[in-house]
């Protein structure tokens, strides 16, 4: 039964698929380079080396020894916050306060250690920009394998998304506000970590057990059309 339905979906949705593929080409990685450093800055090699020792031991497990992403933490060389940082004015507060909602602990580091870590991160970003592309990144184009028309049907039908959401209401222009992995993650579980959790979160959690991978990619493809 499922196979038959699935076949019909594919036949009917050829147009949607082509649209998704065209868009995928338009958003190739080359068109979306990592955010460029806003304020170019240089650091003494000794400080960068000292920073590497501190970074690897304190931050490397989650963010990678090369700051390009590790077991749980993001690639810092592609981070908007790092791009906008000037000598630790953005990085420092995050490191000192942590991001408890994302599982990052707070660190109390000496000013010298903090400055050295900042130096190392910027140096790694400079190197990554020179090399081009992130090694462990997920590009928006990677995610666009779904069928937007099938996603719309799922959204309004089996998925039950339209019971709470409206593409002309809360989701209007969602793809202009979020893209790529961020959009997918929000679609799957829009965690704001607020207390108490909004009632819709449990519906999203339950939905995670219902999606097929095709459903997930189809709904994502549909959301991408909501510019």
């Amino acid at each position: 039964m499922r196979r038959t339905l699935y076949g019909v979906v594919i036949t009917l949705s050829t147009v949607g698929l082509v649209t998704a593929q065209s868009r995928a080409k338009a958003q190739s990685p080359a068109a979306q380079p990592p955010p460029q450093t806003v304020t170019p800055q240089t650091y003494p090699i000794e400080q960068i080396q000292a920073g590497e020792v501190r970074f690897v031991s304190e931050c490397g497990f989650c963010h990678g020894r090369d700051a390009a992403g590790g077991e749980t933490g993001p690639d810092l060389t592609r981070s908007k916050l790092v791009a906008e940082d000037n000598r630790g004015d953005k990085i420092g507060p995050v490191v000192r306060a942590g991001r408890a909602d994302l599982g990052m602990p707070a660190f109390s580091l000496s000013p010298a250690d903090m400055a050295a870590i900042v130096a190392f991160i910027h140096d790694q970003k400079t190197k990554a920009e020179a090399e081009g592309g992130g090694r462990r990144s997920v590009e928006a184009t990677d995610l666009e394998t779904g069928d937007a028309a099938a996603g719309r049907r799922y959204f309004n039908g089996a998925g039950g998304c339209s019971a709470c959401h409206s593409v002309t209401g809360d989701l209007a222009g969602i793809a202009s506000r979020y893209e790529g992995l961020k959009l997918l993650m929000r679609m799957l579980y829009p965690s704001e970590r607020s207390e108490p959790a909004p009632p819709g979160l449990s519906a999203h959690f339950d939905q995670l057990g219902k999606y097929t991978d095709d459903d997930m990619h189809n709904v994502y493809a549909y959301l991408v059309t909501l510019k």
């Binding site: 690897v56 999203h204 959690f205 997930m216 990619h217």
Partner: protein, 501 residues
């Protein structure tokens, strides 16, 4: 000191003794079950703080303390403190020099005669005099420049100090070393995946399988049981075809020779970072009408396994949390990975997520109720691999999407969930301790120390102490039952008020 020497005998270690907590698990069985009976469901709400020990450092305590001869030993990466069990006062502190290996956590110390053992992030094993913390010797157990690090609480069996390492950011063979407790000399090395230059590599090209948690030991069979970690490259399984033994496995080793006696793979051909390092818990118990020597593991991959520990044969395999990655169970009792859930270029939604249905936080087995109590997570992650991610180290990307944390009681004979106590969003980090009086101690994700009724999971008492990163322990001191648990970067000792006992 003589009492200590007597204390470290095998019979005491097999099922614990009341005035100490001699290994990561308290004893060799890994059950984390105390025979002390002073604290009961009726009086647990009267527990009071006896002392608090602050490391005065950043890192959360993730180590299980050990207690011997009136002293408690607690670790963080590069640090070991000896603490007076009566007052919580520091007796001595040992600090390893700064180094650039990963400092993500440390699981605890080990003790043998009058020596305390500490592993370090830069892969040293340091033998310290229990009296004053002076180093007796300091040996390198692996090359941290290659990407190994150690957080391991060693397991001591006679004069063998078994030490493991971590290292799945690089393609490194899995190794467990036995070090001579007196001299620091290497006695043997067990490789879970072939070392460089091995003549007949049998792992399908996989490296990894690190043994970074503390094993258990059966003195009557003279077998050590250790869980092994995930294969490397981690998310790219295509370059390492086959089951990749002995990654994501439980292995039984002879502690005198390091020879493999049997192995059981809980996750053949893992592509999700689901180390099988969770405690292999030992119990001698009836299993469906037959007296058995059992080994039980609630594994990171979401399945609860019961094995006959004499031969590694499966008795039960059943999920204890959300799973969607297996097509079924094979004739040997192993889950069959579903290729549709291998990491892919556009991503696949997988349950559990990378942090797992459980993890290194230790569970407890209560022999009275037959309940195996574990800090579990129902969760989902999204897993990616594309050819550009290569074949080294992580080789892919994955992201946790959502999780719900529970303390969950499993009937060891059927695998059925008997009760399920929610502890918050995400994953719990606290281990579990059960008592002979039917109390279960653990923690929630909000930093509360919890006492539950073992039979049904009902809350008996709670106290906010900060996020708990270790398993609570219990021992008797001056005729009084003491509980010690870590909250944040402090250790807390609790007991009943003296006058009300």
């Amino acid at each position: 000191m003589s009492r200590l020497l007597l204390g470290i005998c095998l019979t005491a270690l097999a099922y614990g003794q009341s005035d100490s907590w001699l290994t990561f698990h308290g004893d060799y069985s890994g059950r984390r079950h105390t025979s002390l009976r002073e604290i009961t469901p009726e009086n647990v709400a009267q527990l009071q703080q006896v002392w608090r020990f602050e490391t005065q450092q950043n890192p959360q305590i993730k180590a299980s303390p050990i207690v011997a001869d009136g002293k408690l030993y607690i670790t963080t990466p590069d640090n070991l403190w000896a603490v007076d069990t009566r007052t919580g006062a520091e007796l001595w502190h040992y600090e390893n020099p700064r180094n650039n290996a990963f400092h993500i956590g440390h699981r605890g110390a080990a003790i043998y005669k009058d020596t305390v053992y500490l592993t370090t992030p830069d892969c040293r094993l340091i033998a310290l005099n229990a009296k004053d913390g002076k180093a007796k010797w300091n040996v390198v157990i692996a090359d941290s420049n290659k990407g190994y690090w150690s957080s391991n609480a060693p397991l001591v069996v006679r004069n063998h100090v078994l030490v493991g390492v971590s290292g799945d950011f690089d393609n490194l063979p899995g190794q467990l070393k036995s070090i001579d407790a007196d001299t620091g000399a290497t006695q043997w090395i067990f490789y879970s995946t072939p070392p460089p230059g091995a003549k007949q590599p049998n792992s399908g090209g996989a490296t990894g399988g690190q043994m970074w948690t503390t094993g258990t030991y059966d003195p009557s069979l003279n077998l050590v049981y250790v869980g092994t970690g995930n294969p490397t490259p981690v998310l790219n399984g295509a370059v390492r075809p086959g089951d990749n033994p002995w990654t994501c496995s439980i292995v039984a080793l002879n502690p005198d020779t390091g020879k493999l006696v049997w192995g059981f793979q809980v996750s053949p051909h893992d592509t999700h970072d689901w180390d099988a390092n969770e405690v292999p818990v030992l119990a001698d118990a009836n299993f469906n009408g037959q007296a058995r020597k059992l080994l039980m593991q609630a594994s990171r991959n979401g399945y609860f396994f019961v094995l006959d520990r004499t031969n590694g044969k499966s008795l039960l395999t059943r999920p204890f949390a959300f799973v969607n990655w297996a097509k079924g169970i094979d004739s040997q009792g192993r889950p069959i990975p579903d290729p549709a859930k291998f990491p892919s270029p556009s991503g696949v939604l997988v349950a559990p997520n990378e942090s797992g249905a459980t993890n290194f936080r230790p569970p407890s087995f209560d022999p009275q109720t037959g309940l195996f109590i574990v800090s579990a997570q129902d969760g989902y992650g999204i897993y990616f691999f594309k050819s550009g991610d290569g074949a080294y180290g992580w080789a892919g990307a994955d992201y946790g999407v959502a999780g719900r944390a529970f303390l969950r009681a499993i009937d060891y004979q059927t695998g059925k969930i008997v009760w399920n106590h929610p502890i918050g969003e995400g994953a719990g980090t606290a281990g579990v301790l059960t008592t002979a009086t039917g109390v279960t101690f653990s923690g929630d994700v909000s930093g509360n120390f919890l006492a539950l009724r073992t039979s049904d999971g009902a809350t008996l008492w709670r106290q906010s102490i900060g996020r708990i990163g270790n398993g609570p322990i219990s021992f008797e001191l001056d005729g009084r039952q003491i509980l010690v648990v870590g909250g944040g970067s402090s250790l807390y000792a609790f007991a009943l008020p003296k006058e009300k006992r």
